[in-house]
């Protein structure tokens, strides 16, 4: 008695054994791939890292013309209390003078024009531009200057000169009260 005679053939010539092989291989394959996911996902931010995803900042101690840097998700956040002159300067710029065309109004929250809040990372190669601390070089446009490759940002944090491709990025933030913001 040969096993061949016992083999059950489907209409298209496929055997019961083919079916079992395919089913087993697919089940094992899918299971194997699913089992690999935890080994990859463990590298994503952990729960305690995500828990630090937002910070609240009290703005009341920052005087006009002053600026501070706070840390959010490991990145520096520039918070600048702009003077009326600086705001006026930023708003006087016409679009054709800009590399990355954005109005000053697009870069602040309406009603809080004096507060410019940005991620302090140069959009060129990731250095932290100078201009926040007293005595820092502020660049040709009175905003920030990146010492790494010489990018100049204006008082709205827009790129005006140098190799950086974009204006300084803006974080998501909201005003909890007039003097308090929540970043993230």
């Amino acid at each position: 008695m040969s096993t061949k005679e016992q083999t059950i053939h489907g209409e298209d010539g496929a055997t019961r054994r083919d079916m079992l092989h395919t089913t087993a291989a697919v089940t094992a394959g899918v299971g194997g791939i699913l089992a690999l996911w935890p080994f990859v996902d463990q590298m994503n931010p952990a729960a305690d890292t995500l828990a630090l995803a937002t910070v609240e900042v009290d703005l009341s101690s920052i005087g006009e013309g002053e600026a501070i840097i706070v840390k959010w998700q490991g990145k520096p956040i520039f918070i600048r209390h702009r003077t009326a002159t600086e705001i006026a300067e930023a708003r006087a710029v016409t679009m054709d003078q800009l590399i990355d065309k954005e109005t000053d109004e697009e870069r602040i929250h309406a009603g809080h024009e004096q507060w410019l809040i940005m991620i302090g990372i140069c959009t060129h190669l990731g250095c932290v531009p100078l201009g926040t601390k007293d005595g820092d070089e502020k660049g040709e446009y009175g905003g920030w200057f990146c010492p790494c490759h010489g990018s100049h940002y204006d008082t709205a944090g827009r790129i005006r000169k140098g190799p950086a491709p974009r204006n300084l990025d803006l974080p998501d933030y909201a005003f909890v009260s007039d003097t308090r913001i929540k970043i993230g």
Binding site: A28, W37, P38, F39, D41, Q42, M43, N44, A46, A47, D48, T49
Partner: protein
């Protein structure tokens, strides 16, 4: 050793590569269709590949755990807890690794006992057997150091007890202990070096596993009848017959493994290891992981000095003798191929040895129980008897039994019963 077949892939690029590095031929000849294997291997032969699989799981899960673990006494405990609570899938990966160690030992112990029952250590497989013992010793070192890393009470005090064993060595013992510690007690330097070695040793094990499989290729697999392969009728190709059988075994093994990971992740551990290490407070009783208990029982069973009776002269202190007994209990297995004088391999044809084999298993169970209890009441005596029997089994019973035992007649060939039945 079966003839080496060369694979010539049809794909041109593969063929080009294969000519320069015959890796497909290697697989083909070692675990592939070109690997003639005895047709009668039973399920006890599954545990070699299961142990190999557990090694791979331990390395994979260990490497990812090391991405989050910090080997520093100040934060080690917290970093492990953070893995379980905060790291994505840490709740899965850490129990997988901790229980993985247990299941690695389960697979290896069954693999070793299978070797003892079927006489797998006898000529021409002595080196294969000894390489297996080297793997076992490396596993014990690796598991011990891994258990220290969570820096709980059992970690700390286990490390203290085991490293103190070395102080029993005459003259240089104390210096060796200081060298191991990198200080004057188990502390930060100890933790850091244990972490480094715990990461390294599995890859050393992996290397020895390759030698182990190479030695298996040279001497071929043994089989439950313990007789030589006589013709092609005795064999079937490793692939697909044993790959599919191994895969089935893995499925069953994984079901049990998964039960522990998901439903009883701490069942095999000691609750005291969830108390952060404290060098000022020793736990009620210090117990090693279950897979070390028989050896721990042997260590503790020796409580007497050897010297000249009636005088204060001691040749070997009880402490040193215990340490010697513990290491000797494993090291003597290296001599087993010569301690066993029987010409018949498989216990299937050795009616008396079969009994002694099960006595030995019972003895190991007894030692496991004794090792987990406090040394009071009946347990020290049971431990001493168990230890005595363990050594008697290998040093007295095995050599004598080979000469005295009347073995059963061996079958002519592996295929014979099958072929006869078919006729």
């Amino acid at each position: 050793m079966a003839e080496w077949e060369t694979i010539k892939p049809e794909n041109k690029a593969l063929g080009w590569f294969e000519e320069r590095l015959p890796i497909l031929s290697l697989v083909h000849n070692v675990v592939g269709p070109g690997t003639p294997t005895p047709r009668n291997l039973n399920y006890w032969w599954n545990f070699g590949s299961l142990a190999g699989l557990m090694l791979v799981i331990q390395i994979l899960s260990g490497v990812v755990l090391a991405m989050h673990y910090t080997p520093d006494t100040a934060v080690a405990f917290d970093s492990v807890e953070r893995i379980v609570r905060d790291v994505n899938y840490g709740w899965l990966l850490r129990p997988m690794h901790a229980n993985g160690a247990s299941f690695f030992f389960i697979a290896v112990y069954i693999h070793i006992l299978r070797g003892l029952y079927y006489g797998s250590y006898k000529a021409p497989r002595e080196v294969l057997w000894m390489l297996g013992l080297v793997i076992f010793l490396l596993m014990m070192a690796t598991a011990f150091m891994g258990y220290v890393l969570p820096w709980g009470q059992m970690s700390y005090w286990g490390a203290t007890v085991i490293t103190n064993l070395f102080s029993a060595i005459p003259f240089v013992g104390e210096d060796i202990r200081t060298l191991l510690w990198g200080g004057f007690s188990v502390d930060n330097p100890t933790l850091k070096r244990f972490f480094s070695l715990h990461f390294l040793l599995p890859f050393v094990i992996f290397g020895v596993v390759i030698l182990h499989i190479w030695a298996k290729k040279v001497s071929d697999s043994g089989n439950p009848l313990g007789i030589e392969v006589k013709s092609g009728a005795d064999q079937i190709p490793f692939h697909p017959y044993y790959t599919i059988k191994d895969a089935f075994g893995m499925g069953v093994f994984f079901l049990i493994f998964a039960y522990f990971i998901f439903f009883a992740p701490d069942a095999l551990g000691h609750p005291d290891n969830y108390i952060p290490a404290n060098s000022m407070v020793t736990p009620d009783s210090i117990v090693p992981e279950w897979y070390f208990l028989p050896f721990y029982a042997i260590l503790r069973s020796i409580t007497f000095d050897i010297g000249i009776p009636g005088t204060d002269i001691t040749f070997i202190s009880a402490k040193l003798l215990g340490v010697i007994a513990m290491f000797a209990s494993i090291l003597l297995l290296f001599a087993l191929p010569w301690l066993d004088t029987s010409k018949v391999r498989s216990a299937r044809f050795r009616p008396t040895y079969r009994w002694f084999f099960w006595f030995l298993v019972a003895d190991l169970v007894l030692l496991t129980i004794v090792g987990g209890r406090k040394p009071e009441g009946i347990y020290p005596l049971l431990g001493l008897l168990g230890t005595a029997y363990y050594f008697a089994h290998f040093l007295v019973i095995m050599p004598i039994l080979g000469f005295k035992e009347k073995t059963l007649p061996l079958p002519e060939s592996i295929a014979n019963p099958v072929v006869k039945a078919a006729e």
